[in-house]
Symmetry: C2
Subunit: 402 residues, 2 copies
């Protein structure tokens, strides 16, 4: 036992299994989780959680810290001129960003939104291309440093303008990894860069060279997207990178037959590739239940929050769990628990987080909210939460404390 002065006691925490426990935090980690002793009145300095549900802090698995306008002036969405086109959208984004508040400020707004709702671990993609160079990466790296006491952030060097399409990007991605990005990204190797092999050669090549993880944006639908997933599976297995590769969006998995899905699902699981979805509203997305059944780690993120791509997003991963459940037709308790798992334990697994959970030895990063159990939390999405980082209250009612 450490010095008593370094301990904090949290009394009457309702755990996910329905039991009520007293939690002790020491050095930022749980040192004891014991049945509630019903200490009345609470001992000096103890925090009485009064039966609130205590959940490990949510995992924001896919966000873009550099491109949101949250907290800045409202920018009306403008559609592409002739159906959706990624290049046109990127150009629109560049114009928008030129007029926006400084990136660090916008990133900070978005971070505080996420922390306020209880996400204390995050994976953010950060744009790298020939036009912006490493500017976004440098800015977001500095923001990460400033917020390191509040939130753990993984950064993905994201080739928003493609790799082959934007000459010099491969070298910039390499540089971004050297600067401190944790993962290398990719973007629709087929539809965007028109060369699956060459695109993946760069992505997997740099990942091996720098010992980095991989998280690829894959919007390609149907058999094309499926082909790319198969290629990513093959390379992941060949590179000995299980557990270090994710495919974000992977809409194709929502396009294919149940039989084809079961087949590819098993291969994705065997390769240790995680699949990220934000449960989009108006088109297909990876079938969460079927993939989980196949053993795939499915995690989630807000994706864009109020940016050049769409106006939605609230940075609330519990609300994202609600959306995942709603879009997936999850009604039973175990299904609602699965939706929650996607934004918590499965997210932690996908991100390779150490010490995640409410357990002795785990980091004391947690959220306390009023709900009887996880299923109720997922359908009710109570907003009046308290958020604790290393056992210290850092946010309340959606706001980061000063």
């Amino acid at each position: 036992m450490g010095c008593i002065l370094n301990q904090t006691h949290f009394l009457n925490a309702r755990l996910a299994d329905g039991t009520v426990a007293d939690l002790t935090v020491e050095g930022g980690r749980f040192s004891a989780v014991a049945p509630a002793a019903n200490t009345t009145p609470p001992t000096d300095g103890a925090v009485d959680l009064a039966g609130k549900l205590v959940l490990p802090a949510f995992v924001e698995g896919h966000i873009h810290l550099d491109t949101s306008f949250y907290g800045d002036a409202w920018r009306p969405h403008i559609p592409c001129t002739d159906g959706f086109d990624v290049r046109e959208r990127v150009a629109f984004q560049m114009r928008n960003l030129e007029q926006a508040a400084p990136m660090a400020e916008r990133a900070k707004n978005q971070l505080e939104l996420c922390i306020g709702h209880g996400s204390l671990a995050m994976r953010s993609h950060v744009m790298v291309d020939a036009a912006v160079g490493l500017k976004h990466v440098e800015t977001i790296l500095a923001v990460r440093e400033k917020y390191r006491d509040l939130i753990d952030i993984q950064l993905v060097a994201f080739p928003q303008s493609g790799i082959l399409s934007s000459p010099g990007t491969a070298e910039l991605l390499d540089e971004a990894l050297k600067l401190g990005c944790d993962l290398i990204g990719g973007l629709d190797p087929a539809s965007f860069d028109r060369d699956v092999k060459a695109h993946l050669d760069v992505v997997f090549g740099l990942a091996e060279k720098r010992g980095a993880g991989i998280d690829i944006h894959l919007h390609d639908r149907g058999t094309l997207g499926l082909f790319e997933i198969e290629e990513i599976v093959a390379r992941t297995t060949a590179s000995g990178m299980p557990g270090k590769v994710a495919v974000s969006h992977a809409y194709a998995l929502g396009d294919i037959s149940a039989e084809a899905l079961a087949r590819v699902g098993e291969r994705i699981a065997a390769a240790g590739i995680a699949i990220m979805t934000n449960a989009p509203g108006d088109h297909v997305f990876p079938p969460v239940a079927a993939l989980r059944k196949a053993g795939v780690t499915v995690f989630a993120g807000s994706d864009n929050i109020r940016d050049s791509w769409w106006p939605y997003g609230d940075g609330d991963m519990l609300n994202r769990a609600n959306m995942i459940g709603y879009r997936s037709g999850f009604y039973e308790d175990w299904e609602l628990e699965a939706a929650y798992d996607v934004v918590s334990h499965a997210g932690a697994k996908a991100l390779g987080l150490e010490g995640y959970g409410i357990a002795v030895g785990a980091k004391a990063d947690f959220v306390a909210l009023r709900a009887e159990h996880i299923p109720e939390a997922v359908v009710a999405v109570p907003k009046d939460r308290k958020v604790y980082r290393a056992g210290r209250e850092v946010a309340r009612g959606g706001k980061v404390l000063a």
Copy 2:
């Protein structure tokens, strides 16, 4: 002008058009809406809305006050044994209701949830069948009476077990209308009662006899549902009932080609039939934009809230607008405004509400919340609202004031 003592002044209200106005309420209605005079400090007794966005109270167009367990014990969802079956679900509901808290108490919980979020007009379906008789109707009529100062409620006598399938129901529906229900309901004339003509004969016959409106639950998909909609259109036109008929759910409209939809959309619009959707998460629903373009009044409701049918629902019609926009791929400002219209002005039109809006002569039933404009309110869904009924604050931060 009435006596000054009966006036309430609301200063610095941001209106939907972006202007800031001072509002005067007299006798429960707006007697003046004028450009803000920037009175600093505010005159005695005036309420400074400090630039908050003021919207007319939301319209909850489809809810089931009798069957929710909101505020009662959590009841885990149990799926049907072999695919979804309405009869099996109704039987499950009956068992659940037998063990639940008194209906009046549950209805009250649900009403306060809705009022707390800013809905002050509502259409609730209330179950009528051979088993429960008029028990639900009598209970909910009494609850409506108790809440009449807070919310306007229309009740639909809803044949939850069919009309032909549950002998004696036609007579009970007639009795329900005599007791005070405003509309007569229906339920899948084809798939449930297996006789479209006979089912609609009862519904339209009773509506004509009692001068009641009609709101029919129609879950039937594809060409079958489309056929039923065509029959409802024909009867509505023949009965001279435009503006008094609604079809709820109408999933079939989400199943058909754009050409077929344009054709039937025009006919629905010409017949003055309103279409209700809650933007379900995992299957098709009426295409909101296309129907609005055809001139159809599309309105919305929470539908079930935490009952035997599903665990979702939060009674927040602004969040419903968000869901409608998200599910419809509404990104542009005018589209987000359309999503809002569905839960407000279009809802008022569907329900035939008198005096709806922020305008001189309209009822002073409104919501004040922090947003720059309607598009931002729809994407941000701010929860910290103040709700005013006839100019009097009745709810704050989601809670009805004592």
